[in-house]
Symmetry: C2
Subunit: 329 residues, 2 copies
């Protein structure tokens, strides 16, 4: 690039006090206003972090080596950066910002690093787990909108571990997907399937994120849960999970996912469900009524939350492609 | 880990507003006060960044993918995370915090990603570059303390690119180190060697950092320079570089390294140097007088700067192992 094309004031003699403004200024060459805003906030916080901690060169290098290791251990089936984001509370925060939920709708929670795109489509009543050691569980759910109307033909991703607390992708020699499936809700908004009772398990802790948890004196466990993801045009993408009440890790989830509204009891089928779904009366049963929010409701709520939050920070913003950028006019 | 050993208040129902306090609280299990402080500031800034930008799930995933790619491209001879830190101005900031320089001493600058530990030791007058296309340069320097006394037997690492702007490690089929050496200063504090005249060059921009620079509308060039690193017990480790005056990128260095005190002119040897160092009178000559700071002076200045900066932020600190942690007593 011809240096005469550099249209910024000359930069030299950068110090602890002037470096941030200069980096923001050179990044302001960026033609995408959203990226420019993201980089402006990123650079400000990154630099303030170093200034407030008086970060040493050794600590900086330790940090860069840690980030390198986190990247190196990632594979097609292991996303250590999602794990890192999870244990730092960033994942649940971003989900809360991007997928705000009006009262009465189902709350979202962390995606986690184990969702894949290879699950097989299943029909109502099929079994998503083939682990013979798992405790069989009948799951019967409904899916409605915020006005109480059933929603049909929603694409539903469901995934859980086997009875030892491992997802299929954690086995090197696996034959194909297991403990995961894709279903569609019926006309009445109902979907039902056979699974196994979730168990608590540690997030993968043999890598750099596990080392960090150990240094911090934290355990790597997640309480027993089953993941759900719902997609249908016109509705906000819902990533959530159901947690079992009284799990030993219910109030110390390593990735901060548990919400009271998502905590459930496992009951018994009883005569009605037993007859309808072909199980014994004492068969373990999990039921839940999910409520999806329309895209429209979500974007209104998201925009209102954004405006309130940024007003509080004293930043005049405008919304570009649904996301805030500073309003400089 | 036995969940009964988790000694924190129960955590559930985490929201945009309470997640940060909860993550800080669980991290406060950490027994190392410095790591606890670093994580406290990291989590606060990371979360504020997400809240202020209203980071979307797609942007979050794009960010995690970017960080993964930065890690993946790192090898023994390519450190893309240092590059990323360099172009975000973090590297020069950390150097300024950790290696403050009193007036009259040589300023530090960015290490960059191309220092290696395989350079060969050279004697005074040897040639560190074997690139026949490079313009020969005689370099004659002195090394003194802040009282003007010469410092002998300092370990000096020197590295530069070849005439095409590439470091040795950027060649896949290289035979061994070139364009880099280790020297020791003599009794009079003098060290001298033969090199080639530095040229401007782009930082490696075929990876994720290059893509980011492009998105930001920034060029990847560094002005012509030669790196120096000085180590001797009792003196603060000095990482610096000399920059050629009037380089086209002198005021837009992609990694923010240029300082006026480090900008030099290349002159001609003239009769005195020609006779003393065995070159022709019109041989290009670079001279510089480096001034090292004692460990003691540096730690006093570092502690004073830390205290001032953290007082300004309203944080009461105590110094543990030379670095600040909050003083909670």
């Amino acid at each position: 690039m011809d240096p005469s094309l550099v249209k910024i004031p000359p930069m030299k003699n950068l110090t602890v006090d002037n470096i941030t403004d200069n980096v923001i200024q050179i990044n302001s060459l960026c033609s995408d206003p959203r990226l420019k805003y993201i980089l402006e906030r990123l650079v400000s916080h990154l630099h303030d972090f170093a200034r407030e901690t008086r970060l040493s060169t050794d600590e900086w290098m330790t940090g860069l080596r840690f980030l390198t290791e986190v990247g190196k251990i990632c594979t097609d089936v292991r996303q250590e950066y999602i794990l890192l984001s999870d244990i730092l509370g960033l994942s649940i925060l971003v989900d809360s910002i991007d997928h705000p939920k009006p009262a009465g709708s189902t709350e979202g929670t962390v995606l986690g690093p184990f969702h894949t795109h290879e699950a097989e489509e299943m029909r109502a009543g099929d079994s998503m787990s083939h682990d013979p050691a798992g405790e069989p569980l009948l799951v019967v759910c409904t899916l409605k909108d915020t006005h109480g109307n059933p929603i049909e033909n929603v694409k539903i991703d469901i995934w859980e571990t086997d009875s030892t607390g491992h997802y299929d992708v954690q086995y090197a020699g696996r034959d194909g997907p297991d403990g995961r499936c894709i279903m569609r809700s019926g006309k009445d908004g109902v979907f039902w399937f056979r699974a196994i009772t979730p168990v608590p398990y540690p997030i993968p802790h043999d890598g750099p994120v596990g080392k960090l948890l150990k240094l911090l004196g934290r355990h790597p466990y997640r309480p027993s849960h089953m993941h759900f993801m719902f997609e249908k045009e016109g509705f906000d993408h819902l990533i959530t999970a159901l947690y079992l009440r009284n799990d030993p890790y219910e109030t110390s989830d390593a990735v901060f996912g548990v919400k009271d509204s998502l905590v459930v009891d496992i009951g018994k089928a009883g005569p009605e469900y037993a007859a309808k779904y072909g199980v014994s009366e004492d068969h373990p049963l999990l039921t839940y009524d999910f409520v999806l929010v329309s895209d429209e409701e979500t974007s209104e709520l998201r925009a209102r939350n954004s405006k309130e939050a940024l007003d509080k920070l004293g930043r005049k913003v405008k919304i570009v492609n649904g996301l805030p950028v500073p309003d400089l006019d």
